[in-house]
Structure formats: structure tokens, C-alpha cells
């Protein structure tokens, strides 16, 4: 029976769509998602159109980019499902209720699978779908092709989701007591294996920066072979898209996606039917126990704000779904630094230094706009029902907000500044530009933190405790879009003086830069103040 026909799942979907989502929130959510989809679609459309102007390698490069991104998103979907499943399959109070009902474990599992898949995959789909459909628009496709692409994307996502859930269940069945440490080990091991695969299996990838002519680049792309592996669903999807638009037979790849997805789903269900309840029961034994992580932190002589900071640090590091995701992001940041390091000699001219320096700034800003939604926006809601006690304390509720601001602004600014400093030093950036970049990125990150906390106070959901779900919910999307809009705005602000600088007109660029800097500071300050002020007022007015 397909999952959506299951009455239990239907009632869940109905509750999810009606329960906590008022119609205004739902409309806002749909609006922002559509805006994001259109934005991403327009972006890819422009990139593809630009690349197609290079007759020699444009088409091949588009395919390589697509293949590469599909590979990255496949692993993101897989990891995200793996991590989210830990909470949705084992730690959610709903599971307890479901297992107390006369239901077969397989039905509970299907419900959990659907929930995990939805929450852990939708963000990746908002990029993958416009990326593929834009290609179709550029090439010129019909409704049939669009439907086929959507079906293929769903199958590709389903494979990642099923594999993520299945891997977690198998690992917990084999090593029930390893828990958090196992998650880190699995991720680090996965990263090392991926690196070794590319180092030994695709050494040519590491030589991309040694190419100097278009012809060499075209030959390189042609000789590269598949970026991932012929056994990966990302490659099947990429080949399917390529063949669909070149009138070749694509059925084999769609069939591969379909049958692999179906097989994994059936294996997951069968495995779940046999072992899910047993693994769940075993996991409950590991919930309790004497804890040592940061156990003396609250024993220090702390003021109110610092006590909340200490509490948040303890909770963060005792919640594997939080720090394991941070670990993944840290690995991605290291990969980014490594890429900059590998390609640094390409950017020795002042022109490229300026371009890459600016792109680096934009990247760091976008990175924190994304990270903020996942880690900072949910921090108010994750107070949960304990927010009632916080309100009962003899303190202004803005103390709570300031404590969050201290934690997240400090952590984010330190990470952001380190990232900016490292990459700028690798690129041998001009010391003056480096200093300005550090100040600007610091202010930008602080504003992003303020936006996330402000929206977290305005649209809290104290009934939800899973940060991933909160980030994926309506409020999270609005916070994400607000941060992205701010990031676009500041990039646009500084792009103009850079343009004049690159056109060899530094005399015109300098005053324009100073004006941009002033507007940026005023804008960031106003946004931060407004977000904190409105957030603080809304939080104080929240009634339980």
C-alpha cells in the first residue's frame, strides 16, 4: 500500500498541515518557498545561458556542474536523513504514543520515514528542482519532460532518504550503545573515504587548477569521466537528464532510480517490521545515565545572562542532532578552505584577487545566512515549555534574548572571522582590504544572528523540540529568506564600487565604497536593533 493512502499517515499529514500552521503562516510559507524556487530557477537559468555561449565546453561543463551538485545534494539528503532519523525514529515523544497503540512497527516506521524524509530533504529539493527545470527551460522542453524530471527527482530523494534511515537502523541494531560517538566516527570516516575515493579514483579532479587554456579545459571536462560513480543515484539522475534532452534512451536510468528506490524502501520496511521496535526499546535504555559533559559549568559563579549561556552550551553539546550537524558544516568549511588553498596561484593578479576576495566575502555571508536558520532561529523555540519557567523568573525576558545573542553572535563571529582571515591570507589579500573585510563580515554576521533571533521570538513554536524541524518550518523559511535578502542587499551594495575598481577606475570606486560602507553600517545596525526590539517585545507578550 503506498504510504500516502495509509490512514495513519493521512491523519498525520492533516495534523501537520492544519495544526500549528495558521492560514497566514501557510500562505507566507508558500510565498517564500515559491520566491526561493523562482530565485534559484532564475539564477540557474542565467548561469546555463552564460555557459552555453562557450561552444567548446559550455554544454559539457553544465553537465559536470549538474553531476557535481547532484552528488553533493545526494549526500546531503542522505546525511540529513541519517541525523534527523535519530530524533524522529527514537527520541520523539510521538513514537512512544504510536508504539503504545495496537499498530505494527512497520506502520510506525512508515510514518516516521515520511516525516524524516519531508523534513530532512525539502531544503535540498528547493535547489535541485529549479536547477534541473531551468536546464530544461534553457534547452526547451515540454510538460512531459518536466513531469519526468520531477518523478526522477522524487525517486533520487527517496533513495537518499531510505538509505539514510536504513543505515541508521542497521548501525543501531549492530551497535546500540555507541550512540553519539558512533555518529561522529561514521561521519568522519565517510569524509575520509570520500576524500580517498577522489584522491586515488579521480586524481584528475585535483589537477583542474593547472589548466590554462579553454581547449585544455574542454579536453579535461571530456576526459574526466563521471564525477561520482556509475553506482550512485546522483549519476543516474544526471545521465537521465542528459539523455532526456539529447533524445537518447533514458529509460534505463529512470528504471534504475525506480527499482533501487523501491528495493531500498521494501528493505527498510522489512527491516523495520523485524527490528524497529527492538532497536527503539534498546535505545530507551541509553537515554538515562550519569552525565559528565560540562557538568560543573552551572556550578560556577554566574550571573543570569551567563547562566542561560552555560545552560545553552550544555544542552547543545548533549544533543547529538545539534553538534553532529555542526560537525558536517565544519567539514564543508574545511573543504572550502582547502579548495581556496589549491587554487590560490590562479588568482595572483590584482583583478582576480579583488574578484575572489569579494566572492569569498559573499560566500561567508551566505554560509552564515544558511547556518543561522539551522542553529540560531530554533534556539528560542527549543526552550519549549520551560519558557514558562523562564517567564516566571524575576528577570526581564529580554535577558533570555541577550543570552542567546551573546552565545550565537560570539560563536558565529569567531568562526566567520577565522574563515575570512584564513581564506584571505591564503589568497594574499591586500592588508587594507583584509581589515575592512573582517569588520564588514563581523557586522554582517551579527545582523544575521539578530534577524534569526528576532524572527525566532516573533514566530516561536514552543511545542516543537526538534531544531531541524523548526528550521524547516514556516518560521525557519521566513528567517532564511530574510537573511538571504539581507545578504543579497549587502552584496549588491558593495558590488558597485568593486565594479568601478575592476574597470580601472579606483578614483570613482573609493568614495562609492565609503558611501556603501556607511549605508551598510546604518542598515545593519537598524535591522539588528529592530529585530531585537520587536523580538523582545513579542517574547515579553507571549502568553502560555
Amino acid at each position: 500500500m503506498p504510504p500516502v493512502i495509509d490512514p495513519l499517515i493521512n491523519s498525520y499529514l492533516k495534523r501537520t498541515s492544519q495544526g500549528r500552521f495558521s492560514s497566514i503562516k501557510r500562505i507566507s510559507f508558500i510565498f517564500v518557498v515559491l520566491t526561493f524556487l523562482s530565485g534559484a530557477g532564475i539564477f540557474f537559468f542565467k548561469v546555463y545561458n552564460y555557459l552555453l555561449t562557450f561552444n567548446l565546453f559550455g554544454q559539457s561543463l553544465i553537465f559536470r556542474i549538474m553531476e557535481n551538485l547532484l552528488l553533493i545534494f545526494f549526500f546531503m539528503i542522505l546525511f540529513s536523513n541519517f541525523l534527523t532519523a535519530m530524533t524522529t525514529y527514537f527520541r520523539s515523544p510521538e513514537v512512544e504514543l504510536l508504539f503504545s497503540l495496537p499498530l505494527r512497527p512497520e506502520r510506525v516506521l512508515r510514518l516516521r520515514f515520511l516525516e524524516t524524509g519531508l523534513y530532512a530533504s525539502w531544503a535540498s529539493l528547493t535547489v535541485v528542482i529549479p536547477m534541473l527545470l531551468s536546464y530544461g527551460v534553457v534547452i526547451g522542453f515540454g510538460m512531459d519532460e518536466a513531469v519526468l524530471i520531477l518523478i526522477a527527482v522524487l525517486l533520487y530523494t527517496g533513495i537518499g532518504a531510505a538509505l539514510g534511515s536504513l543505515l541508521l537502523l542497521i548501525l543501531l541494531k549492530l551497535f546500540p550503545g555507541l550512540g553519539n560517538r558512533f555518529s561522529i566516527a561514521a561521519i568522519i570516516l565517510g569524509g575520509i573515504l570520500a576524500y580517498l575515493y577522489f584522491w586515488f579514483g579521480k586524481p584528475q579532479l585535483f589537477r583542474v587548477f593547472e589548466l590554462s587554456t579553454e581547449l585544455e579545459l574542454a579536453r579535461f571536462i571530456e576526459d574526466l569521466g563521471e564525477i561520482g560513480s556509475i553506482y550512485l543515484p546522483s549519476n543516474w539522475l544526471a545521465f537521465f537528464i542528459q539523455r532526456l534532452f539529447s533524445s537518447q534512451s533514458w529509460l534505463i536510468y529512470l528504471a534504475l532510480l525506480f527499482f533501487t528506490g523501491l528495493a531500498l524502501y521494501l528493505i527498510l520496511i522489512e527491516f523495520g517490521q523485524r527490528f524497529y521496535r527492538e532497536i527503539w526499546l534498546k535505545q530507551r535504555e541509553f537515554v538515562t545515565g550519569r552525565v559528565k559533559t560540562f557538568s560543573r559549568l552551572l556550578g560556577q559563579n554566574l550571573g543570569r545572562t551567563m547562566a542561560i549561556v552555560a545552560k545553552d552550551i550544555i544542552i547543545f553539546f548533549r544533543n547529538p542532532t545539534q553538534w553532529v550537524q555542526l560537525l558536517i558544516f565544519s567539514i564543508l568549511m574545511l573543504i572550502y578552505i582547502f579548495s581556496i588553498y589549491r587554487s590560490r596561484f590562479l588568482f595572483s593578479s590584482p583583478f582576480w584577487k579583488a574578484v575572489i576576495g569579494f566572492a569569498n566575502f559573499a560566500y561567508v555571508a551566505f554560509l552564515f545566512a544558511t547556518l543561522g536558520v539551522r542553529f540560531i532561529y530554533p534556539s528560542i523555540s527549543t526552550e519549549g515549555r520551560c519558557f514558562l519557567l523562564m517567564k516566571a523568573m524575576p528577570m526581564r525576558i529580554r535577558t533570555l534574548l541577550f543570552a542567546k545573542l551573546i552565545i550565537y553572535a560570539t560563536a558565529a563571529i569567531i568562526i566567520g572571522e577565522l574563515l575570512m582571515l584564513t581564506t584571505s591570507l591564503i589568497l594574499s589579500a591586500d592588508p587594507g582590504i583584509l581589515r575592512i573585510s573582517l569588520v564588514v563580515i563581523g557586522i554582517a554576521i551579527f545582523t544575521i544572528v539578530a534577524i534569526n533571533l528576532g524572527i525566532g521570538c516573533i514566530i516561536p513554536d514552543f511545542a516543537e523540540t526538534n531544531p531541524s524541524k523548526l528550521a524547516a518550518g514556516g518560521g525557519g523559511v521566513i528567517a532564511g529568506l530574510a537573511c538571504l535578502a539581507y545578504t543579497f542587499l549587502i552584496i549588491a551594495l558593495f558590488a558597485r564600487p568593486l565594479f568601478f575598481y575592476l574597470r580601472g577606475n579606483p578614483a570613482q570606486a573609493r568614495p562609492l565604497f565609503l558611501i556603501s560602507l556607511l549605508i551598510f553600517i546604518l542598515l545593519s545596525f537598524s535591522i539588528s536593533l529592530l529585530a531585537i526590539k520587536i523580538g523582545s517585545r513579542r517574547l515579553a507578550g507571549t502568553e502560555f
Binding site: 552551572l298 545552560k311 544542552i315 544533543n319 519549549g384 514558562l388 516566571a392 524575576p394
Partner: protein
């Protein structure tokens, strides 16, 4: 000396539906005041209003003579609250939770430890005290809730349904603790729908229904006939 709690003309509605209507009452020092009422009568709303968790539409709340609406922080410093559902931070231990609350109430480490030691005979903090709250039973959570409410030696203790989830032994100890607190001059305001509990503990009793005060009297007046008073007041 100011009374721990004085409420005058308290009114609160939700979406034009009255939850508490023109409620006036007082709690003396060393007195156990029990607010009795059926489910949905407005008991929890009253407790939340007294603690500043809800803003009243009308009326005054004085905690030890301090107006809650004018000086909320000062007033809240004199209150201890045991809510109806014992929510804790699942990833903190019971001890850490009490330390957090102690810090938020500006207590020194010595005062927190002393508070824990004083309360231990009544609340039985065992080994579980240093385990994560996520693994606690309802009774353990309720005991941590009592501890956090009493750590700072409040003038007024607000308790919403105090015996929910407690085993008979824990219930006895809590009752003993309440009597000790009463002896020490703490004003105790309990909301419940349990008639035997009211009969056993109350020095003064009020019955509320549909947000309106239907009865308020002292022990000699209600002793042995709470059930009749309750049924008459609630219209059954």
C-alpha cells in the same frame, strides 16, 4: 506586615470568552489557601495571572505589597511556582536545573547547595538527581519542580495541582513539607480539583466556577462539608 497575596477585581478573557471574572481574594502569611474548582473553571489561569505569565484585562495583584504589574521582577522574586505540568530541560540533570534556577534568582552556590540539602529530606533526591531529566518519571519531575520553587525561600508559593504523578510516600512528604512551610510563615496558594486534598490542607477555601468566585470561607465554616459546598457552588 504585607500579605503575601492580594488580588483585587482580577479579570481575564480569551477571545472575548471570560476565563476569570472580577476575582478578589487574599492569602495571609502561614496560611494554606486552596482554590477548588472543576476542570476549566479558571484555576490555572488564576495562577498564571498571579505569576505574571498572563496579563490581566483588569484588576490588581499585590505580592507582599508590591504591585505585580508595576514591578514584575520585584514581585516575582517573592513567588515560587509549581506549574501543573513539570517541564524540565531534558538534557540537564536535576541538580543542574536547580543551579540554573538558582542563578536566575541570583542565589550563590552556597545558598543553592543549602537549599538542596534542606529540601532533600522531603523531596528524596536520589542517584537520579545527577542523571538527565529526560529519563525522569513524572514524580521525579514534580519533586524537582517543588525544589526549584522553594530554593529562594519565597513568601508566596503557588502550586497548580500539587499531587499529580506523586506516589503515596512522596505525597505524604510533600504534605509534611507544606506544613513546615506554613509554620515558617509562607503563604501557600494551591489550585486543585481534589476535594480530599482541600479537606486535609486548606486553612481557607475558595470555590471557582466559570471564572467566578462562588464561595470563600475559613476552616470552621467548610470543614467536613466541602463536597456539599463544591456541588452547590458549581451548580450540580
Amino acid at each position: 506586615m504585607n500579605k503575601p497575596l492580594v488580588i483585587q477585581g482580577l479579570t481575564k478573557s480569551f477571545n472575548n470568552k471570560p476565563a476569570v471574572v472580577d476575582l478578589s481574594l487574599e492569602v495571609e502569611s502561614g496560611e494554606i489557601f486552596v482554590l477548588l474548582g472543576p476542570n476549566g473553571a479558571g484555576k490555572t489561569t488564576t495562577i498564571k495571572l498571579i505569576n505574571g505569565l498572563l496579563a490581566p484585562d483588569k484588576g490588581r495583584i499585590l505580592i507582599g505589597g508590591i504591585d505585580l504589574l508595576e514591578k514584575p521582577e520585584l514581585a516575582k522574586a517573592r513567588i515560587g511556582l509549581v506549574p501543573d505540568i513539570p517541564f524540565l530541560y531534558e538534557n540537564l540533570t536535576g541538580r543542574e536545573f536547580l543551579y540554573l534556577i538558582g542563578r536566575l534568582r541570583r542565589l550563590e552556590e552556597g545558598a543553592i547547595e543549602q537549599g538542596i540539602e534542606t529540601l532533600n529530606p522531603y523531596l528524596d533526591f536520589g542517584d537520579w538527581f545527577d542523571y538527565r531529566c529526560g529519563g525522569y518519571s513524572h514524580g521525579m519531575r514534580q519533586r524537582i519542580m517543588f525544589a526549584q520553587a522553594l530554593l529562594h525561600k519565597p513568601e508566596l508559593l503557588l502550586i497548580d495541582e500539587p499531587m499529580v504523578g506523586l506516589d503515596p510516600r512522596a505525597m505524604l512528604k510533600i504534605k509534611k513539607l507544606l506544613r513546615v512551610l506554613k509554620r515558617d510563615g509562607v503563604g501557600i496558594f494551591i489550585s486543585t480539583h481534589l476535594i480530599p486534598l482541600a479537606e486535609e490542607l486548606a486553612d481557607r477555601l475558595a470555590v471557582i466556577d466559570h471564572g467566578r468566585l462562588k464561595y470563600c470561607g475559613n476552616r470552621p465554616d467548610f470543614s467536613g462539608r466541602i463536597e456539599t459546598i463544591f456541588l452547590n457552588a458549581t451548580g450540580d
